[in-house]
Symmetry: C2
Subunit: 363 residues, 2 copies
């Protein structure tokens, strides 16, 4: 296995389709560039790293050669010397697919041409070796930084552990995250208050909420924000109108069935995510309640499903991509990383569509 690695030098190049896509067949190294520019490789290195101790003339000369040859430094060699990699980890547990892909896209948008790449690492919070797995991953890869998605990001111990390995740790969440170097937080509270105001303005008084799983932080944020918002309009929600869901379609449906089966049922429901709002639609449909005539619904996330429902769901647009972009941008910022913890706030907004209107008059 380690014997027959006789690759030889031959390009062999069986490329039936021809030379269409440029592939600098022999990777240019720093030595090549140095030779061609007539300087030492250390100077080339300086140019690459924007060292200020290079004469402008020298710099532009080297840059010319770099451009001409299409040279690009080997990340592995660079990483080895720097004792860190140019990789950014994306660590998540199970959140929904849309969320993950949006984060990936947003982050990579910001990373484009920075030389950094994104390496994904799903994990299982319930595994007994969970924290070790993640920590080992980060250590082995010598990650430059890690973007940690909720609810994993709520594990402060883990965040500290990662950070102690020299990794810049960024948490995405709806509250400030303990242990992170930086976090992009979405002000869910405010947005939910906005939803509350919307209901109040339409004239709803009988309002219910379906919250999310207890082991996430976001549901309580959203619930409290919503309740606070309602309170400002003099509306209170009775305890039996606050029911816990699991952020899944089914749980939303069950919760709604429960809520809608009482005599004096709510005329409006705020579901803490769109999945559950879809469940509410389902339950309403079965019971024969039309939306929005008999029941108004607001969701949270503005996931694709919001537009797939009928009528289109009024929901809160969660700025995933923006947060990811912020996170990634912060990661490749060269400033000192040891200051106070930094926090960036972004505020989600209500997107009014057709699932909300004034309550029925029948009262």
């Amino acid at each position: 296995m380690s014997k027959k690695t006789g690759k030889g030098k031959g390009q062999s190049a069986e490329n039936p389709s021809g030379e269409g896509i440029k592939g600098p067949s022999s990777p240019v190294t720093i030595n090549d560039v140095a030779r061609m520019a007539g300087v030492s490789k250390k100077t080339v290195s300086r140019v690459i790293n924007n060292s200020p101790f290079v004469m402008d003339e020298t710099r532009s000369q080297v840059n010319a050669v770099i451009k001409q040859t299409g040279y690009s430094p080997n990340p592995q060699a660079r990483g080895l010397a720097f004792r860190k990699s140019f990789l950014i980890g994306l660590i998540y547990d199970n959140p929904n697919a849309e969320f993950i892909v949006n984060v990936q896209d947003g982050a990579l948008e910001a990373l484009r041409d920075s030389g950094y790449e994104l390496i994904v690492h799903p994990c299982d919070r319930r595994s007994p070796t969970f924290a070790q797995d993640v920590a080992q991953f980060v250590e082995r890869q010598k990650l430059h930084g890690a973007i940690v998605l909720p609810p994993v990001s709520e594990n402060a111990e883990l965040m500290y552990a990662l950070r102690s390995q020299g990794c810049i740790v960024i948490g995405l969440a709806s509250v400030k995250i303990e242990g992170a170097t930086y976090c992009a937080v979405s002000s869910d509270r405010e947005a939910c208050a906005e939803a509350a105001t919307h209901f109040a303005a339409l004239g709803h008084k009988n309002i219910a909420v379906i919250t999310g799983p207890a082991n996430h932080r976001s549901p309580s944020e959203r619930l409290e924000g919503f309740l606070d918002g309602l309170k400002k309009h003099g509306i209170t929600v009775p305890p039996e109108f606050i029911v816990r869901g699991g952020y899944t379609f089914e749980s939303g449906m069950q919760a709604a069935e429960m809520l809608l089966s009482v005599r004096n049922r709510p005329t409006a429901i705020f579901a803490c995510n769109d999945e559950m709002a879809a469940g509410v639609y389902q339950a309403a449909y079965r019971i024969g309640l039309t939306i929005p005539e008999k029941l108004s619904v607001i969701g949270f996330d503005d996931s694709p499903i919001a537009l797939r429902l009928w009528p289109p769901l009024t929901t809160i647009r969660f700025p995933v991509k923006l947060m990811a972009r912020l996170a990634a941008t912060r990661l490749i910022r060269q400033e000192g990383q040891e200051k106070e913890q930094e926090v960036a706030f972004v505020v989600p907004h209500l997107v009014v569509r057709s699932s909300t209107q004034a309550p029925p008059r029948k009262a």
Copy 2:
């Protein structure tokens, strides 16, 4: 910037949360292991790489030290010496989020503990520099392998280009992919024939199809498979009952509106993906046609939306995760990669739920 890197040696270690998560503070190197085991580092290297030229006794001794110290070789150094990385690229364009995340999960499942990691690379086929971008990415990172998702995988030229860089190229698709080292293909044809049989068995004669975008291969595979299947039951589909969609909800809705507005409308519709099937539901709902009483629908993908629709959608389960697992497994297989192109077939199956039943009697 390159001057003030005075990191010193200090562990500094501000870890308020304590020593909870093991973090081998000083990374063990191959030299440490060699010293502790009383052998040369080359021998340790041999053990790591499963070289057969190591005495069993020596091997177990080294392994003991490795286990004891928790040593794990530095991928960067290893990669540098091997002139390749231990990274596997995931290259995709048109993000259907579910699809991507499933591939990631499936691939990483197979990669677990292999030392390989997954690095994601979305790209834009319409960009003029598309092929170059991808090729450069692969070259720079010296990828061990790349998993290319459709429809990017249908670009043979690109596939050849990547392969010529020494990267194992794996395509996922519904047809054999030209240029790939290996491909995992889903036999969509067969599955669609199964769907056809299902409609036929229920007694439908008046059947329509909504296909997908012209620049993908899968729609034609699915269409042909379905049509062939119908033909075996003596059913043919008139040209005006075959309409092209764009694999999106809206396109499915529009297509269905068109199909359902004619006098002698179809009693059954096969949509080439679930998104469009959801669009069909929408259109039917607006027109007042109930599913499945007045209209039967079959989708393709078994995406989460299939269960979110009411009634639950009969659809074809596309074995994404399995294909990804196959792909990743093949990637870390150590065998010679230069044989004939290898192809693995997996066949999707029909999942019958509640969106299909016999056509209305009214005829």
